[in-house]
């Protein structure tokens, strides 16, 4: 059994470490690339949302590397992610690939299905062993997310932001060959140190942008055209409202941090959007408000073309922008998104933020004088 799973940012690092600890053989899909997207677009229904297309690309590239079993999380609505597994199975079957799917759907009152899926994926009936593996996986994903977070701030502070890029590139290149959770964790620690040693500018204040929107587009750098890196090079600190570790702690109810953060977002969103709308639409509105309250310079919403919950959020954000006087930019991505146009919009937004900072500073000077 050679296990693979779709890419979503750092998730593969934790998935790999955890499964390897359990003695499973993992075949990672190559990093998402133009080719991945091309393959996915070719074989997926045209009007399906982008994450599914990339998933399909990941699977096929993994199968070419020898994978025969696919792991996937599920949901039971209200958004279409809940039907990803059904559509994806159909596509691969029709293409003649003989692969096994292990889907972790929410238990819906029948936890035995979910537990069996875990056992099958882990290759053991020993629940304690599985639980331990899980614990390790969670630790890795937290560490990896913190590394990403650090690099997103450091890039803005660095005299030469390219240095941060190089260290992160090294990390992503070598991590594939690091096996088991303890080695992975020490490699993350090592990279952390390297990032910390990058020399910083003599500047005390930095502009800050919060990223909100659909979880997959926020997390997977290929899909958001490496927005964190781009903003970092403009000297802007980037904070993401959703990360794999936040997702994990919320959905699996592991730890109260994820849940209470989610609650905070819902509470903030309430005057604008009082119920769930599927996906993370409500969190998008809530996070934008929280960023505004924390004095961020701006907020960027990213969503895949035709993402339903995010379209609801998109129609509400202009009111948030007005009420909180914070610029919000919405970026829609799909297989047609071109790098050039994307960058132009980002640049224009950054210029706007800079101008507002200047004006604010001048205003304060005037007041004092």
């Amino acid at each position: 059994m050679k296990i693979t799973f779709p890419h979503m940012g750092n998730v593969y690092i934790a998935g790999k470490g955890m499964l390897e600890d359990l003695g499973r053989e993992v075949v990672l899909p190559p990093p998402c690339s133009k080719k991945t997207l091309e393959i996915g677009t070719k074989y997926s229904p045209e009007s399906i949302c982008l994450p599914l297309k990339i998933n399909i690309g990941n699977y096929i590239e993994s199968i070419e590397r020898g994978a025969d079993t696919i792991l996937l999380t599920g949901s039971c609505g209200p958004c279409r992610y809940g039907f990803y597994s059904v559509i994806e199975k159909n596509i691969l079957k029709e293409l003649g690939y003989n692969v096994d799917f292990i889907v972790f759907d929410p238990p819906e009152g029948k936890p035995s299905n979910l537990i069996n899926s875990f056992k099958k994926a882990a290759g053991t009936d020993n629940v304690i062993k599985i639980f331990k593996g899980f614990y390790k996986g969670k630790k890795i994903i937290e560490k990896a997310d913190n590394l990403t977070k650090l690099s997103n701030i450091k890039r803005a502070h660095a005299i030469y932001p390219e240095k941060v890029d190089n260290i992160m590139n090294d990390f992503y290149k070598d991590i594939e060959d690091v096996h088991g959770s303890s080695e992975i964790i020490s490699f993350i620690n090592y990279t952390n140190k390297r990032i910390n040693s990058v020399k910083e500018k003599k500047q005390s204040e930095y502009m800050k942008v919060g990223i909100v929107g659909e979880i997959y587009t926020i997390i997977e750098p290929f899909v958001n055209l490496e927005i964190e890196k781009k903003l970092g090079h403009f000297g802007i600190e980037v904070e993401k409202s959703l990360t794999p570790s936040k997702w994990l702690s919320h959905h699996l109810g592991l730890g109260n941090i994820g849940i209470s953060e989610e609650r905070k977002k819902w509470k903030a969103a309430k005057p604008y959007l009082r119920t769930l709308v599927g996906g993370h639409g409500r969190e998008t509105v809530g996070s934008a408000i929280l960023y505004a309250k924390e004095d961020y310079d701006g907020v960027i919403q990213i969503l895949p073309f035709n993402c339903m919950p995010e379209i609801v959020a998109e129609s509400i954000l202009p009111t948030v922008q007005k009420d909180y006087n914070i610029p919000i930019l919405t970026l829609v991505v799909d297989e047609m998104t071109g790098e050039a146009g994307y960058l132009t919009r980002l640049e224009a937004f950054v210029d706007l933020l800079k101008k507002r900072r200047e004006e604010k500073k001048n205003g304060e000077l005037l007041l004092r004088g």
Binding site: S47, I48, P78, F83, V86, A313, S315
Partner: protein, 332 residues
């Protein structure tokens, strides 16, 4: 005081209007409908809604604009779930907020939350709240709702006796026009799609009338028995958690499995998230059963001529097939 409540003729209006209308009348509240969808409504909807929304949501915004200066209240319920463990589309979940954050100078919106996901009993709180808006007490409100429900079920029963639902609404408005009983030796064609896509004559460009003129038996999901819908919607490998999806999949699968249909036309609005999944499921099943399937995707730029040609070509093709099969069976 006599209040006037505006109901936009869009989205779930096409399913629940009889219920809403009765309920408000029982409460002694006057109901004003928006004008039927027309170019002006479409255009104002398109320019007063986020670009990325689907056509029916844009049209709904147009209906709100049509009504907003004529009424004391707007009725835009927040319909999250109408059946245990089922959901509506995310955009329908967020509809009141989409409208109120996009369109300016609105009268107060009445947006009771209808959420039966956990329990079908949850409705009573929302209903009582609704009564309060118009100073009607709890027991009177409940009675009004019960009466409205009974009338609504009456209307739904008409649907199952093979009357095309648009007519059912007309029956309801005392405009009985009932010509479409099933005839033998005619093609049975299933017209699939969200009710607001197929029954809104402007959005669908009168597709129902066009098809009826072609001497075929037209079937819609509403005309398929609910028991069958529920049974066949379970044939997919995962529980269908959308109410609209259950109806569309269940009706299509039941007619396909029971070999009661010669062809399927699916009308979908561009960018519909639910349809991207449902079309795939129906299309695969149809091709497995060797039943012709065609998809008509509509948006604000769709031209009527193109749609006409597509429908005619599809029906002609099926008539050919039918003749062919008959020939084979008589000679073979």
């Amino acid at each position: 005081m006599n209040y006037k409540v505006g109901i936009p003729q869009g989205l779930l209006f096409y399913e629940y209007y009889p219920l809403w209308k009765e309920f408000f009348s029982e409460l002694g509240v006057e109901v004003l409908l928006s004008t039927k969808t027309n170019k002006k409504i479409l255009d104002s909807g398109v320019s007063n809604c986020v670009d990325d929304a689907c056509l029916p949501v844009k049209v709904f915004h147009g209906h709100v604009i049509d009504l907003k200066d004529k009424v004391d209240f707007l009725f835009v319920p927040k319909i999250i779930s109408v059946k245990k463990r089922e959901f509506e589309c995310p955009k329908i979940l967020g509809l009141p907020e989409m409208v109120s954050n996009t369109i300016k100078d609105l009268p107060p919106i009445i947006d009771p939350e209808i959420n039966l996901w956990k329990s079908e009993k949850n409705i009573s709180d929302s209903i009582t709240e609704l009564g309060k808006v118009f100073n009607v007490n709890k027991s009177k409100t409940k009675k009004a709702y019960k009466k409205a429900c009974n009338k609504y079920y009456d209307v739904r029963r008409h649907l199952n006796s093979h009357v095309i639902p648009i007519d059912a609404i007309k029956i309801y408005n005392k405009l009985l026009k009932n010509t479409n009983f099933k005839k033998k030796d005619r093609l049975n064609i299933l017209l699939l799609g969200h009710p607001y896509n197929i029954y809104d004559e402007y959005i669908s460009m009168n597709i129902i009338e066009k098809m009826v003129k072609q001497d075929i038996n037209l079937i819609t999901s509403d005309m398929v028995d609910t028991k069958k819908i529920n049974y066949y919607s379970k044939k997919i490998p995962k529980r269908m958690f959308w109410t609209a999806g259950r109806r569309l999949i269940g009706s299509a699968y039941s007619l396909l499995e029971e070999e009661k249909v010669n062809g399927i036309i699916y009308v979908s609005s561009f960018g519909c998230g639910l349809d991207s999944i449902l079309i795939d499921l129906v299309q695969r099943k149809a091709s497995l059963k060797n039943i012709p399937f065609t998809l008509l995707t509509i948006d604000e730029h769709t031209g009527e001529a193109g749609i006409n040609t597509r429908i005619e070509a599809f029906i002609d093709m099926m008539k050919w097939r039918l003749n062919d099969e008959n020939n084979i069976s008589t000679h073979g």
